[in-house]
Symmetry: C2
Subunit: 226 residues, 2 copies
């Protein structure tokens, strides 16, 4: 399948490598291609510059936000939540129309320091805002409850014996994304319901952030034990 | 240990039975003792009237909010979040001073229908509000992420192989409550940090509520898999 990934950060790269490795024709999109390719420094997390990463992932294409969105039969939002709506607008409404839009983002607000609070929560969610902004896309919220290291490799923790959630208004779209998740190694996939259920998964971020602090590692996840 | 439990609903009764069963001198407190004892109907959940419950739990005492708080060396807030601060004020500041106050409540707002939203979240929490309202109590937030059926009997799910969280400013108080949790059967207890970390555990309620809808049972919990 042709997949366009909006965002070239750790989440976009992790998804690009994994989905490319599964044989999907994957293109990562960035706001400013020249600026992204010209970077030579590691980012604040110590990740190598994008040009080095793309050199090691020759099967993955790179383009602008709009080129990546146009390329994909399926589009993945892998941008930071604070920029997601703007990045998707730059991707082009026409390039998202009728497509499944997988939303991995979280509305984290670091503007007041750490730990972050949420830019939207409780009676609304970023998933819902994206669905409202792009009513003809089929938004499926998933994977936002785990770190990039876990998203594409759930087996690295306890043989994938933990849970991932899906929210979205379109049952067919959720079914296709559940298949994609299974291809990445996810076993326990819970469909929470329509896109308003994204409130619940986005609102576990404050707990996630504190657990990250206590456990000193982002390699953990929640299992719904029942 | 003498334990005062503020609230005679399902959470208060469950804690009363369990802690009484462990040999603690337990007293449940209610706003209006006569009204509570005079009830003859089952509640909306189908639970028997309080007088019937107390008849089956002869070791557990019952009194007003203030009597239960005065009785306890340890006080447990088992009221609905919307009423918690008021109920604790009726319990009496002097009866809480210097004591550990275990807060089980969640700030659920059902006034706009179901699913509930939260009355406070993101940059504040009910746990913090209670600590601010009773600065001389040692507030420990815990057990608010599970149903009453699970709180006092974690072993009913997967041999207690799941997680409970503690938040609070006083390390000694958290240590004593961790011991109490272990006596109830809890095995994986994560101390998240100070009382501001209650934001995280209260904010998983929107996900909890949706999972209750999907799983059709409140008998589940989260395990932090790492």
């Amino acid at each position: 399948m042709k997949i366009g990934i909006i965002g070239t950060g750790v989440v976009g790269r992790s998804m690009g490598s994994a989905l490319g490795g599964l044989g999907h024709e994957t293109m990562l999109g960035t706001r400013d291609l020249k600026q992204t390719m010209d970077r030579t420094n590691r980012d604040v997390y110590g990740n190598p510059p994008f040009s080095e990463w793309i050199g090691n992932n020759r099967g993955v294409k790179v383009g602008t936000f709009a080129e990546a969105a146009a390329h994909g039969e399926l589009v993945v939002n892998a941008t930071e939540g604070v920029h997601s709506i703007e990045a998707l607008k730059l991707s082009g409404d026409a390039n998202l129309r009728g497509k499944i839009l997988v939303d991995l983002s979280n509305p984290l607000d670091f503007s007041k320091g750490k730990p972050p609070s949420l830019l939207v929560c409780n009676t609304d969610s970023l998933g819902e805002r994206i669905q409202k902004a792009f009513p003809e896309a089929k938004v499926v919220k998933t994977l936002n409850t785990v770190n990039a290291l876990v998203m594409t490799n759930p087996g690295r923790i306890m043989g994938s014996d933990h849970t991932i959630f899906i929210s979205g208004n379109d049952a067919g779209a959720k079914g296709r994304i559940a298949d994609l998740l299974r291809s990445l190694g996810w076993k326990d996939i819970i469909d929470l319901g329509d896109i308003t259920t994204a409130r619940g998964t986005e609102m576990i971020l404050p707990l996630w952030v504190r657990l990250f602090g206590v456990l000193k590692s982002p390699v953990f996840n929640f299992k719904v034990v029942r």
